[in-house]
C-alpha cells in the first residue's frame, strides 16, 4: 500500500510477518503506517520484522507508532525485530529515542 511519501510491502507466512517500508514517515502519514502495520499482523503471527532500510526519514511521531506497536506485541507475546542500517537516518532516530534498548535492531535480515 502507498500513501503520500511512503510505501509498505508485506510478506508473510503463517508464523512470521515481514513489512518492508520505503519512503518517509512523518505527521502526515504516521497514522497510515500504523494502520498498515496492524493490518499485516494476525493473531497467529509469532514474529514481526519491520525493515526500515529504505526509510530516508522518520520523526518522533513515526517512532511513537513503533513504540506503541512494540508494547502491543509484547502483551500478545509476539516477537519484534527492526532492520535498519548503521548510520542511516532511521537507525539514528532509533538510537536517540532508545528504541534499540527494548527491541532488537539488526543490520540485515539473515
Amino acid at each position: 500500500m502507498t500513501a503520500l511519501g511512503v510505501t509498505l510491502t508485506t510478506r508473510s507466512d503463517d508464523a512470521s510477518v515481514l513489512v518492508v517500508v520505503e519512503g518517509e514517515i512523518d505527521l502526515s502519514n504516521a497514522r497510515f503506517v500504523e494502520d498498515q502495520l496492524l493490518a499485516a499482523i494476525t493473531n497467529r503471527t509469532l514474529t514481526v520484522t519491520v525493515d526500515l532500510t529504505a526509510v530516508s526519514y522518520i520523526d518522533s511521531i513515526g517512532m511513537r507508532v513503533l513504540f506503541a506497536l512494540s508494547s502491543r506485541l509484547e502483551v500478545a507475546q509476539i516477537g519484534f525485530k527492526i532492520i535498519a542500517s548503521i548510520g542511516s537516518p532511521a537507525r539514528r532516530v532509533i538510537e536517540i529515542s532508545g528504541f534499540d534498548v527494548i527491541v532488537e535492531v539488526v543490520e540485515s535480515d539473515s
Binding site: E24, D26, L27, S28, D59, I61, M63, R64, F67, S97
Partner: protein, 531 residues
C-alpha cells in the same frame, strides 16, 4: 376567442418587423430580448401564443427559452428532442411546418395541447445554414396560416436568429474568458531557488481557446510544471481544458512520472470525451537531484537558455497528442537541470504566424529567451514575437528560472502549518545543506531536528483554523543556525511519548532553545555542518 382585425397590407406588416430589431433592444440580455420580440410577433401576426426554443449546446435537445401566452413552457424547462414532435420536426427538416390539428400525434409538449391551441405555425431559426432553434406561434381558434404568414414569420425568425447568434456568441465568449481566468493560477507557487512568470493572451479572431498552464508542488517536494492546448476554440475548448487540468492534477498526486501521468490523462480523455484532442507538456522538477523529467504529448519543445549564453530547443522524444488514439507507450526523458538556466514553455499560438516559416519564429524565440529574471524573459518574448499585432490564436507562455545564487545564502521558507508541508520543508533543507557542503551525519541530524520543530508547530501551535510556520536557515561559520517560528500558542502535548521530539532536538544539535513570546514561539537550533 380573439376577434382578428383584417390583416394589414404586407408593406405595413414589414414595417412592423423592423421594430423587431430596433436599437432600444440592444441592451437586453437574451431572455428579455426574446420576450420583447415575441410580444411584437404576437401583435403583428395576431396570434395567441408565441415561443422560442433554442438548441442546447452539446446535445440534440431544443429548450424552451422564451414564451408568450404559454409561459409554463419556460418555467417548466420544456425539452424537445430534435426530430420528434412539432418543434423537433421543424428543427430536423429546417423548414416551416403548419399544424391544423394539435394532439398527441403531432405535438409532444402537453402544455401546448392543454392550452387548447387549435392551429400552429413554426419556422426554424437559422444562422449560416445551421439550426439555432425554433420559433412557433399558435391560435386558440382554428386558423389557416397563409403563405404570407409563413414568409412573415420566417422573416421575423431570421432577425431573431441574427440577434440571438450575436448574444449567444457574446455570452459564450465572456463565459469562456471567465472560465479561463478562473483556471489559470492567479499566483504561482513560491519555491525556493525557482522563479516563475507567465502570460496568457486570448486570440483576436475567436477569443479564448483551450490553452492552459499550471504549476504546483507534489507531496514528494517535486514541482510539476504543465503547459497544454486543447484543440478547438471558445467555451467548449475552455471547458475541456478545465477538465484536463483537474484530471492531470489528480493523477499527479498518485505518481510523479510525467509519462505515466499523461498516459492516464489520455485514457480518461479517450474514455469520457472521445472526440476531443489536446497537446500537453509535463515537467517534474526534482530539486533534490537537480534533474527534471519531461514528457510531451504532441506539444512543442521548450526553449532553454543556459548560463554560458547559449540557447536551444530541448531535445527529447515527443509522443502523440492526448486523444489521438495511439497505443504507443509514452516516454519520460530525464534531463539535468542546470543552475542558472531559464526554461521557456509555450503554446503554438506563440510561434505560428501566417506567412512566416515556423523555423524563423522558433529562431526569434531562441533569441528572445535569455538568462534573466523570469518576468523579464516573459516580457522580451512577448515583445519580440507578439509586438503590437493581436494574435490570431491564443497564447500561453511560462518561464521558469532555476536560480544559481551562491550556496549558503539565508533561506527563508513560509509554509502552511499542515502535515503536508513537512516533506517540502525537508526537501528544501536537504538541498540547502548539500549546497553548503554539510556532512551526511550533519544533514541527517539537522533534517531530523528541524522536522521535529516544524512538526511540533504544526501539531500544537494552532487550533483548527491553522496558520503558518516560518523556517529561517543561515550559515554562521561552520554552524547552520535555524529558527522555526510560529504565531500560535503551544498547547500541552497530548498522548504518551510526546517528550521524544524534544529529546531528539536536544541530541541532534549543539544548541537547542525554545522561546515563547506573547505572539508565538521561536525554536532555535544550531549544529556544526562539518562533522
Amino acid at each position: 376567442m380573439t376577434e382578428y382585425p383584417p390583416p394589414l397590407p404586407a408593406v405595413d406588416r414589414l414595417r412592423d418587423i423592423h421594430a423587431v430589431t430596433d436599437a432600444a433592444l440592444a441592451h437586453l440580455d437574451i431572455e428579455d430580448l426574446l420576450g420583447e420580440l415575441l410580444e411584437r410577433v404576437r401583435e403583428i401576426l395576431h396570434v395567441d401564443t408565441a415561443a422560442v426554443l433554442l438548441l442546447e449546446t452539446n446535445s440534440d435537445f431544443l429548450v424552451a427559452t422564451a414564451a408568450k401566452g404559454v409561459e409554463d413552457e419556460v418555467v417548466q424547462g420544456v425539452r424537445i428532442p430534435v426530430g420528434r414532435g412539432f418543434a423537433g420536426r421543424i428543427a430536423a427538416e429546417k423548414r416551416a411546418v403548419v399544424l391544423d390539428q394539435v394532439d398527441h400525434t403531432t405535438v409532444l409538449n402537453p402544455i401546448l395541447r392543454d392550452r387548447g391551441i387549435k392551429s400552429m405555425l413554426g419556422v426554424p431559426l437559422l444562422s449560416a445554414g445551421k439550426v439555432l432553434g425554433v420559433l412557433h406561434v399558435g391560435t386558440l381558434s382554428p386558423r389557416e396560416f397563409t403563405n404570407e404568414d409563413i414568409e412573415l414569420l420566417q422573416l421575423v425568425a431570421d432577425r431573431i436568429a441574427l440577434a440571438t447568434q450575436a448574444r449567444l456568441s457574446e455570452t459564450e465568449r465572456s463565459a469562456a474568458l471567465a472560465l479561463q481566468h478562473s483556471l489559470l493560477p492567479g499566483r504561482l507557487p513560491v519555491v525556493p531557488g525557482i522563479e516563475f512568470a507567465a502570460r496568457y493572451v486570448p486570440g483576436e479572431a475567436e477569443g479564448v481557446g483551450g490553452d492552459w498552464y499550471d504549476v504546483f508542488t507534489l507531496g514528494s517536494g517535486s514541482l510539476c510544471v504543465v503547459m497544454g492546448d486543447v484543440v478547438g476554440r471558445g467555451l467548449r475548448a475552455a471547458v475541456v481544458m478545465g477538465r484536463l487540468r483537474s484530471t492531470l492534477r489528480a493523477y499527479a498526486i498518485t505518481t510523479d512520472d510525467p509519462a505515466e501521468i499523461l498516459a492516464m490523462v489520455d485514457k480518461k480523455l479517450q474514455h469520457f470525451e472521445p472526440s476531443e484532442m489536446a497537446t500537453a507538456l509535463l515537467m517534474v522538477l526534482d530539486v533534490n537531484r537537480d534533474v527534471f523529467r519531461i514528457s510531451a504529448a504532441g506539444h512543442p519543445a521548450p526553449v532553454v537558455a543556459y548560463p554560458d549564453g547559449s540557447t536551444s530547443l530541448l531535445e527529447f522524444d515527443v509522443d502523440p497528442p492526448l486523444g489521438a488514439r495511439t497505443p504507443r507507450r509514452r516516454r519520460t526523458t530525464e534531463i539535468p537541470m542546470q543552475r542558472g538556466s531559464v526554461v521557456c514553455l509555450y503554446t503554438d499560438g506563440l510561434i505560428e504566424r501566417r506567412g512566416v516559416p515556423l523555423d524563423d519564429r522558433l529562431e526569434m524565440l531562441c533569441v528572445a529567451v535569455r538568462v534573466e529574471p523570469a518576468e523579464d524573459v516573459c516580457a522580451s518574448v512577448m515583445k519580440a514575437l507578439v509586438g503590437a499585432e493581436p494574435p490570431v490564436d491564443d497564447i500561453a507562455l511560462l518561464c521558469v528560472r532555476i536560480s544559481n545564487d551562491g550556496p549558503g545564502l539565508p533561506l527563508v521558507l513560509d509554509f502552511a502549518a499542515e502535515p503536508s508541508s513537512l516533506a517540502r520543508i525537508r526537501t528544501a533543507l536537504r538541498h540547502w545543506l548539500r549546497d553548503v557542503g554539510a556532512t551526511e551525519a550533519a544533514t541527517i541530524d539537522l533534517v531530523m531536528a528541524v522536522g521535529e520543530a516544524t512538526a511540533n508547530a504544526i501539531e500544537h501551535a494552532y487550533g483548527p483554523a491553522g496558520g503558518t510556520v516560518t523556517v529561517d536557515i543561515r550559515l554562521e561559520g561552520a554552524d547552520a543556525v535555524v529558527r522555526v517560528t510560529d504565531a500560535g500558542q503551544w498547547r500541552d502535548a497530548r498522548g504518551h511519548g510526546r517528550g521524544r521530539g524534544t529529546h531528539i532536538m536536544n541530541t541532534t544539535t549543539d544548541d537547542f532553545r525554545v522561546e515563547r513570546r506573547n505572539d508565538g514561539t521561536d525554536v532555535f537550533l544550531r549544529r556544526r555542518i562539518d562533522r
